[in-house]
Symmetry: C2
Subunit: 215 residues, 2 copies
């Protein structure tokens, strides 16, 4: 059984024929998303108001609210785009990693690299993740599911190749790795750790976990 | 060498003879802290204003500002008290734990228990920890240092007793355990996990880490 899945990401959907109205609406949405992303990175989540975002996008606050109910929805849309964008580089790292270690370090390293130029946005997301509603937390976990599946696959492949012993629930191990990966944004945010050092630091932690699973 | 330290916590300093003025000032400070704690738990950090806190304490906002520069300083004072309060129960668990596992599970379980009735405060603290200044982060780490030292001691004792092999830097392992402990507040906050289940969940993760260190 081959655990490396086909690329099953939906292609960026953009219907060939859009009404002028629908096209304008989508362009507005994208302009809002880009302005919001820039401002969240510059000022953090609390620091950027809908009014600022509208001004930066060159439109009225009403036009922003036509696309998004509130700032939370706008923020989540940006984060969902970012998590979806991790899928491809992480899957490439999984396919290219010759060992479990190489796959895992490559996957999480690719994620760190993808976020390196927008650390304040990630910090704001991690902060917000602690004080959201249970429903928002449910959606957050939902959007992370495909990436979690890739981490589990990397571990399963290690077991299949006789590299790891499955004496522990691999989902438990995947969740530990994920929590350690997230914690790894802290030294990047506060100590200015480079992506390379951030990845090397996580690699040391991955080594501890993999030692527990050694076949 | 005995790694279990003497109790070296400073006793709660309350000089025998205080001027009436100093006593009043301290009482004000304690009243503000209690009101702020209650409101942060009830409404979260963003939701509680200095004005609300002053009203709940039955004083003017000016009286609050006489004790604390701003809401951040007030919040940090509460959190520092809480971390200082973890020291004793965690040290007891370390002393009473017959194995490394028992010590670690007991220590972190004691911390979870201490925070069980103020989860929203902990969530607000974890959120705030991602978006503070580097200086605030430095102070946060400073205040955690004694607890981190206890975790390292539990691991060192395991090595001394021949239970663990020190093939990995024990500070690295202690930091992993700490990050996993913090991540363990998420299911408590969002899935209503009881303290017992929260502790059991962390125990499973501790088992993975200890398997890597098995002598």
């Amino acid at each position: 059984m081959n655990h490396i899945p086909m690329r099953m990401n939906a292609p960026a959907v953009r219907p060939q024929k859009m009404t002028r109205r629908a096209l304008a609406k989508q362009q507005t949405r994208e302009k809002v998303l880009q302005s919001a992303r820039d401002l969240f990175i510059e000022r953090g989540y609390e620091g950027a108001t809908i009014r600022d975002i509208a001004r930066a996008a060159g439109m009225s606050t009403g036009a922003v609210f036509a696309s998004f109910t509130d700032k939370t929805e706008l923020f989540d849309a940006i984060l969902n785009d970012d998590f979806a964008a991790l899928q491809d580089p992480m899957q490439d790292a999984l396919v290219n990693g010759k060992t479990t270690r190489e796959a895992l370090v490559g996957m999480f390293g690719a994620a760190y690299r993808a976020h390196a130029d927008q650390l304040p946005l990630i910090q704001a997301a991690l902060a917000a993740s602690w004080t959201r509603t249970p429903e928002a937390e449910r959606l957050r976990r939902e959007s992370l599911r495909p990436i979690r599946a890739l981490v589990i696959q990397a571990l399963e492949r290690g077991v299949e190749h006789g590299e790891l012993a499955a004496r522990v629930d691999l989902r438990l191990v995947a969740d530990m790795l994920w929590d350690l990966y997230l914690a790894g944004y802290r030294p990047a945010a506060f100590d200015g750790l480079s992506v390379e050092n951030q990845t090397e630091r996580l690699a040391q932690r991955i080594d501890v976990i993999l030692a527990a699973l050694k076949a």
